[in-house]
Every structure is written in C-alpha cells, then in structure tokens.
C-alpha cells in the first residue's frame, strides 16, 4: 500500500498532530501512524470517522485509482 499523503495533508491543514487526531476519533496514535504510512488498511467505519474529524470526504482521503491499487 502507498503512503496516504492526502490524509496527512488534511490533518496538517487542520493543525492536528497524529495524537490529537487519534484521541478525537478514539483510536491509538499507532493506528493513525500506520494508516498514513500505508501499513494498515482501515475499515470503512474508521475511514468515515477520520473524514468527519478532518472535514473531508472519503474521495479526498482514501480514493485510489484501480491501477494504483493493483501495483
């Protein structure tokens, strides 16, 4: 999985640290770190929580082209 730079950018735009985002949505900081690094594939429920916390849409943070996903 590729790094999720969109999520990292959205978080930085909201001026939040990984810890603050993690506390806000009730997960560990390790989980946020792993998602941003592309090491963990979150469930749709967690994706939605992240989107709500960052005022973003699923497409903005988690959309991948089919070719990117296959690589």
């Amino acid at each position: 999985m590729a790094k999720n730079l969109e999520m990292k950018l959205a978080r930085v735009r909201k001026d939040m640290t990984q810890k603050e985002l993690a506390d806000r949505i009730g997960v560990s900081r390790q989980t946020i770190h792993a998602i941003e690094k592309g090491e963990y594939n979150p469930t749709i429920k967690l994706c939605l929580k992240i989107c709500w916390a960052l005022d973003a849409r699923l497409d903005d943070l988690f959309w991948e082209d089919e070719q990117d996903e296959e690589e």
Binding site: Q30, H33, K37
Partner: protein, 158 residues
C-alpha cells in the same frame, strides 16, 4: 503486480481470523483442563504433563512477546495498572493454591499438609506472578515509549 495466493475475500479472511482466534482459546482452555485433570488423576508433577505445559508455555510466551512488540496491553486498558496486576496475581494464585491443596488433601487426607501446601503454593505463585507482571509492564511501557518516539521521528521527517 504482487502475486496473491490467498483465495479468500476480505469478509472470509476476517471470519477465518475469528475462527482461528476461537480455536486458540479452545486450545488454551483445553490444555489447562488436560493439565488439571492429569494432576488430579496422577498427582502433581510435570513428567506426565510435560508436553501440554510446553505447548501452553510456548503459546503464552508468543502472545506476550507479540503483544508487547506491537504496543498492545489489553482490550480494557492501554496502560498497565499495578492494582490490576496485583488483583490478577492474587486471584490466580488463590485458585491455584486451592486446587493444589484440595488435590493434596484428596491424596493424603492430611489437613496440616494441605494447609501448608496451600500456603507455599499461594506465596510462591503470587510472588512469581507479581514479578512477571512487573517485568512485563516495565518492558511494555518502554516499548510503547519507543513506538511513540519512532512515530514522532517519522512524522517530523516526512
């Protein structure tokens, strides 16, 4: 493109993980029950339950190491608590001492011997568990701190 030999889809994969989780629980409880039954039938000792003890110990050690390595303490708490550690040590030691004392009494019909067995087993197991919990808590705390520092460093570098 990565070659994927897994023919399960994500829902089937999740169900398989749950099945494997339940299988491990059955194996752990089954091994404990097998050890307990053999101790009651053949008397305390490790010679006739060596295999079961070895498998149980290997499973338990793997679980502890894997959890600590990944910064996981328990489902109830992310931080070890001395109070919980002492409570669990006390409860487990009490049960183990009661069972051992009961087996001792059933075999030798000696009250004093059974009480002495209870006292020795309780104190020894309580001390062993308390030390094991204290060491594991310390290692876990250090590992958690290290994971946090690694994440901090990578966050700064990106």
């Amino acid at each position: 493109m990565k070659k994927n030999n897994n023919v399960l889809d994500e829902m089937q994969e999740e169900k398989l993980l749950k099945i494997e989780h339940n299988t491990m629980l059955i194996a752990q409880v089954g091994l404990l029950a097998a050890i307990a039954v053999q101790w009651v039938v053949y008397g305390p000792g490790t010679s006739h339950v060596f295999g079961e003890c070895l498998v149980l110990l290997t499973m338990s050690l793997y679980m502890v190491f894997a959890c600590v390595k990944n910064g996981i303490w328990s489902r109830k708490s992310q931080k070890p608590s001395a109070k919980t550690n002492v409570t669990i040590s006390f409860a487990v030691s009490l049960v183990a001492a009661l069972v051992t004392a009961a087996v001792s009494y059933a075999r030798y019909h000696a009250w004093k011997g059974a009480i002495a067995t209870f006292a020795v087993i309780f104190v020894a197991m309580f001390a062993l568990y308390a030390v094991a919990f204290a060491v594991t808590s310390a290692v876990y705390t250090r590992r958690s701190r290290q994971l946090e520092q690694d994440a901090d460093r990578e966050e700064r570098e990106e």
